[in-house]
Symmetry: C2
């Protein structure tokens, strides 16, 4: 994969009134060294990120991603991001993204150890080809996330609602799913409620209602799921947030994993139980998700 663009950002304070950020941006060669060994992102996964899908030069749902970045910063006690500065950085990345599908990644790190400020950067890379996952679907393995459904609210230091750079467990869960013959994982709480996938949100269909696990402080609020729910409402479907036992996934009429870059991937099997795939409905979801969205 060739990275297309990288922009280092000197983060402005959130109360900074400036609107010209030229002096805070520095374009770098994405294949050349840009970070020091003292970076806390690299030493401790201590920072936050967002991945924004880009289709033919249009970055999708930028505001929702920026809001979530700010939310993650709050949970992690990082300085509040200056959203105007990030918006402008995304605009520059968007301009460098080219045709087809790509991904803009925003990273806000706590900085260099003992250093004065956070470090931050934005990259653009071409997206992988997800045609197969979007059309033929994916198999998922159910994996225990290890905590009970009511934990996140009483243990905020576990950072469960933040999109942190500490993603080793998410990556290990996907490897475990592949070892089990699946393509992706769905996490369940230790008391048996479905949560989310390591890098995606879950949506199930039950009759004419589309349901996603209720935000409980331990689930990232998926920007793509939010966008799809708006689309479903426009089409006259009911949508709901519910605390869902894992049986609801096994017994769903259909289910999808939703994420910013892969978009809607229909689930063909949960562990060894097949799920029906509605090819036309899924295609309509992805057509919508590939259209320009703000």
């Amino acid at each position: 994969m060739a990275w297309r663009y990288a922009l280092m950002i000197d983060p402005a304070a959130s109360d900074d009134t400036r609107t010209d950020f030229d002096s805070t941006f520095s374009e770098v060669d994405p294949s050349a060294p840009a970070l020091t060994v003292g970076e806390l992102s690299t030493q401790r996964g201590d920072g936050i990120f967002e991945s924004i899908g880009v289709v033919d030069g249009h970055a999708q749902e930028v505001e929702a991603h920026l809001q979530r970045l700010a939310h993650s910063a709050e949970i992690c006690e990082l300085p509040a991001p200056h959203l105007g500065q990030w918006r402008e950085a995304v605009r520059r990345a968007e301009a460098a993204s080219g045709a087809g599908e790509s991904v803009i990644k925003l990273i806000l790190s706590r900085g260099v150890e003992h250093g004065p400020t956070p470090t931050a950067w934005v990259t653009v890379a071409p997206a992988a080809d997800f045609t197969e996952a979007r059309t033929s679907g994916i198999r998922v393995a159910v994996l225990d996330r290890g905590y009970s459904i009511d934990l996140p609210g009483r243990a905020p230091w576990l950072l469960l609602g933040a999109k942190t750079l500490s993603y080793a467990v998410n990556m290990a869960a996907i490897r475990e799913a592949k070892r089990r013959g699946a393509d992706d994982a769905v996490f369940v709480s230790s008391d048996g409620f479905v949560l989310e996938a390591p890098t995606a949100s879950l949506v199930i269909r039950r009759g004419d209602t589309f349901v996603t696990p209720a935000p409980n402080g331990g689930i990232l609020h998926g920007t793509t799921q939010l966008s799809l729910f708006e689309h479903l409402a426009d089409r006259g479907f009911a949508t709901a947030y519910e605390t869902l036992p894992v049986s609801a996934l096994y017994e769903a009429d259909a289910a999808w994993l939703l994420s910013s870059v892969r978009l809607a991937a229909p689930i063909t099997a949960v562990d060894d139980r097949p799920l029906a795939v509605d090819a036309d409905l899924t295609a309509s979801f992805n057509a919508y998700l590939l259209s320009p969205r703000d």
Copy 2:
């Protein structure tokens, strides 16, 4: 803090028979960019590390740290490290460490996204002055780690026994402890058993027996705790690994957090309950821990 030394490593395969690693090492300026934005350590905390204490140019317990690095690599499905190569890298770092106390950090990252191999490096930095923590002691806050004591064995994808770069939660727990007026945290399982501190092991004294939580796959086996237990045995004390309810910490005759760089920090209070400190015994622990150990 001035970094003293940084060495980039091109990781050799564990079955490589070479003994000359010159061509795999590259000394870099620790304050200059050395890592690319595509680094998976920085994007996902996807890698492992070790921190080795150094006293007057002698790196402590190097073999125990190398063995744990290999153990973490196995859990995280990273290529097995060539221990001869790492040993030589530590030797070079040791030579650059200078007088007084410092810390050698070993980092093995999964590499650059879509890249062919892991990336790896070693740094040396002066240690902070921990005299106060070692003599006056530290207050700890008990924090829920969120999982039950029997979880790690059945959910290896949570990587609970590996020293991964995904340390954002460990850092957040220390911030929460400070917010509560303490200096550090002690994690307990959701079912009430003491585990470890975010960056240290716990040892309690009960009469003439010194006890640390039994390894359960979810606790790092502390190199400093292991070394102290050898020392205690030499002095005729009993040592034990036990599954300890949190009440055992509250009711201990004394307790310490043990780590490679801060060494033995006596606990003066657990939440609001004071603990007695044996200043002479603690001083003898730190004198031992500061002596050259292999």
